[in-house]
Subunit: 480 residues, 2 copies
């Protein structure tokens, strides 16, 4: 017993006796203030160039890098220079070095005013000598350096070797910004009194008729992967949570091989009860988007600039309050531009793009709401417009002419919902649980679902949603 007692401990800092008593500095903190200090650093070998009795290394941590010199002299032997020169690129090393100010700025590094004079160097993790792609190539803007025969990296090579591709300054910036979008989304909604919910992804019935849904083997039966958390969000509204949001994967078994479709993406979902008009919902969502845009503009400028270096684009423009157009107005604008379409036709993707350009010209905004879609082109649970039954209380939101959100006021009356389902020839038995949710008092409500990867892609002016999905899934890609 005393033996046990003696061994039990409440460690204030679990510094093991074997841990060296060192502080590792961050590359970004290597500034002239640290000049002449002896420091320890852990970093990757970004590049390495041996030249006689010297070896120049560039050491990298994420988007920051610094030049390091190993030179034959008092503290470094010829063998050590040779050892350093042989360390493979992308290996992780610990170095002990003196920080020295430099007379001429080192243009190729983020830390331009200092370099490191290395006294000791250890390899923590050795990279294999042949890298499947070169980081310099992976950040090169398309077309740049072509005359010198310099390569860029194609998308499949990037995605096949995502662990290396994600190390580039561009990827680091993209996914730090993506993390910011999620945080801004949640923080804004939490301040507005929304509650975060967790909804199941394995579901028993494909509510929207069973198209484009993945099937899962579930013990002795089968189930489906949720195409959206909508039904569960709505149940939470019927369960008095009033305003809810959730962030999670949604699954679409759509065989679409386009720049903007994924089979699995992250949905930022909102649902809320409203008092008198579904525009209360639109206002909440557009304000949330505006808070995200402002937060990115104000707090992620470094990341935006970094991405722009490789993928130039115009700064993202938005209005306050957000522009809201009605569907009939959009049709009129398109017709004026020469498009032939019926009043109740859905927008094709090219027409959405064209409309985005027309709206940009006219209103100078990259973000707007298109309201009052024809009822015929929306799902059965969409609330018809009470003043014109050909239209509906539904809306899409667009960034740079591409849809990022689809939403609507939902039918909250079990009787009307049943009628609408019958009209859409949906098997009532399959959606019984859904319809029953509205039988015990349901407030008027609406919401929408935002595609995280699309928001990031379009905000940054990128051209493929795979650039803003860490490990994208499409009909042809399941790995890594």
């Amino acid at each position: 017993m005393s033996q046990v007692k003696k061994q039990a401990r409440l460690p204030s800092k679990t510094k093991d006796s074997k841990s060296p008593d060192r502080e590792l500095v961050r590359v970004q903190d290597l500034t002239p203030e640290k000049a002449d200090q002896l420091i320890w650093l852990r970093a990757r070998v970004h590049t390495s160039r041996a030249k006689g009795k010297q070896c120049f290394l560039v050491l990298r941590q994420q988007q920051f890098n610094v030049q390091a010199l190993v030179a034959v002299g008092d503290r470094a032997s010829k063998q050590m220079v040779k050892f350093a020169a042989n360390i493979t690129k992308e290996s992780i090393v610990d170095v002990e070095a003196i920080v020295r100010k430099v007379e001429q700025k080192i243009e190729s590094c983020s830390q331009q005013d200092v370099e490191l004079h290395v006294e000791r160097i250890f390899v923590i993790s050795q990279a294999e000598p042949r890298l499947p792609l070169q980081l310099e190539d992976a950040v090169r803007p398309d077309g740049e350096g072509e005359e010198e025969g310099r390569a860029t990296v194609n998308q499949d090579t990037r995605l096949d070797n995502r662990v290396i591709d994600l190390r580039t300054t561009t990827s680091q910036a993209v996914f730090r910004l993506q993390s910011g979008v999620c945080q801004l989304f949640r923080d804004t909604l939490t301040k507005k009194g929304f509650v975060e919910i967790q909804t199941p992804k394995i579901i028993s019935a494909a509510s929207e008729g069973g198209a484009n849904v993945f099937t899962v083997s579930y013990f002795k039966t089968s189930a489906f992967l949720a195409q959206s958390p909508q039904l569960y969000k709505q149940m939470c509204i019927c369960a008095d949570f009033d305003k809810v949001f959730c962030v999670g994967p949604v699954f679409r078994a759509e065989d679409s091989n386009t720049h903007r479709h994924l089979t699995e993406f992250v949905g930022l979902d909102i649902e809320m009860a409203f008092n008198y008009h579904y525009h209360e919902v639109i206002d909440s969502i557009t304000d949330t988007m505006v808070q995200i845009f402002k937060g990115l503009r104000d707090n992620f400028q470094t990341e935006i600039q970094t991405v722009n270096k490789q993928f130039p684009s115009e700064p993202f423009k938005f209005l306050e309050p957000t522009l809201r157009l009605e569907y009939t107005e959009a049709v009129a604008m398109l017709r004026e531009a020469g498009v032939e379409m019926g009043d109740e036709d859905d927008l094709s993707t090219p027409n959405e793009k064209l409309l985005g350009r027309l709206v940009k010209e006219k209103y100078d905004t990259d973000f707007y709401v298109l309201d009052k879609y024809p009822l015929a082109v929306r799902p059965f649970y969409t609330m018809p417009d009470p003043s014109n039954p050909k239209y509906s209380n539904s809306y899409d939101m667009f960034m740079r002419g591409e849809e990022i959100l689809s939403g609507a006021q939902r039918v909250h009356d079990a009787q009307l919902l049943t009628e609408r389902a019958i009209h859409h020839q949906i098997d009532l038995e399959k959606i019984k649980a859904y319809i029953d949710s509205f039988r015990y008092g349901a407030p008027p409500h609406g919401g929408g679902g935002i595609g995280l990867e699309r928001v990031c892609m379009l905000y940054l002016g990128l051209h493929n949603v795979r650039q803003t999905s860490m490990f994208p899934r499409d009909p042809k890609r399941l790995t890594p």
Copy 2:
């Protein structure tokens, strides 16, 4: 064109002309300061009792409720009293009423000092007359009122009618607290410099040998649902994100019908590079848990008390810093208590529970870390203890004697990882992408995965994880 221009608008507040210009007050704001004011309110009819020329309603919003009186007089007719008396329970109504101070506190309502004298009442959404369960029954503590023949509601009835069950004060408190756990988890880690990542749930290979994994039909091939985001978290570490977390669903095709197993639950996952010792990882995780416990204690006391009323439990105790015991010490404590087990045997669930009681007696904590598990009982990617190859740099964390986290230092060397996989007889072909991730320089790292529902269940002293999952999934339940 002018037509289009005229219709386009930038609404500052999209108040439709049809929206009444009313402000709805919240039930929780109905206090004596509002006495004699005429107000509008939207709420559910919680209970209704007609008595001669009067009808007493209790109107509810989430956990708050207020008494309302409809009485024949100047503003209300006999017909109106009858109309009010016939409104079904759980219907949503709008009322216009005068707030009146009451002389005797209304003990049965959250708003004890006022009642409403109703002048107008409208039904916004009518509930069906027969409710599948009664809210009063659903919040009754087990055993209470049994002699009067009062019912409680069994778990399947609750879950089958979750939309109603979630309206109870207990459910509202549980899931608001759960929302708080997620927020505290993310906020703490964001402050520590962690980046949020999104990992795919559809994966091409079942990395841990293929047991307990759900299969998905994926176009012309098949895929699996991720049992944890671990491999992707690790890839992010290899991709220089340094410290990452994610919150998302994890899937276990385990045919376990216990109080603590779900087939789909929410994982709060952490992974980080460390400098010298994996205890840096343990310290980060335990500190995060402590911040969660403190945040709940300080900001969710109302919710905790509400749940305690129905499900009494001892307050959750924790130490700062967190208690860390080694596996050998735990085995010694168990043996001292009469348990027979070998040094390298895994802990059975009853022994975990017993150990929790022994630790509570000795150290007065409901939360602790068990460190240095026998290597033989951990997955192949677990780093062996360099000083004793029978043990490993791995740990579990426990709340009230039940496991809530499993974690470890991971093998970050491709060669060693290959050897460990062979030792575990794992098909190397299937984990090639995983092993290859470590070939291009990988920092030492570790992490762990926390089960959100278990944390909420055990923090609140509940006894079934289905109580802390909004729409639980187990081998026998796929709906709602």
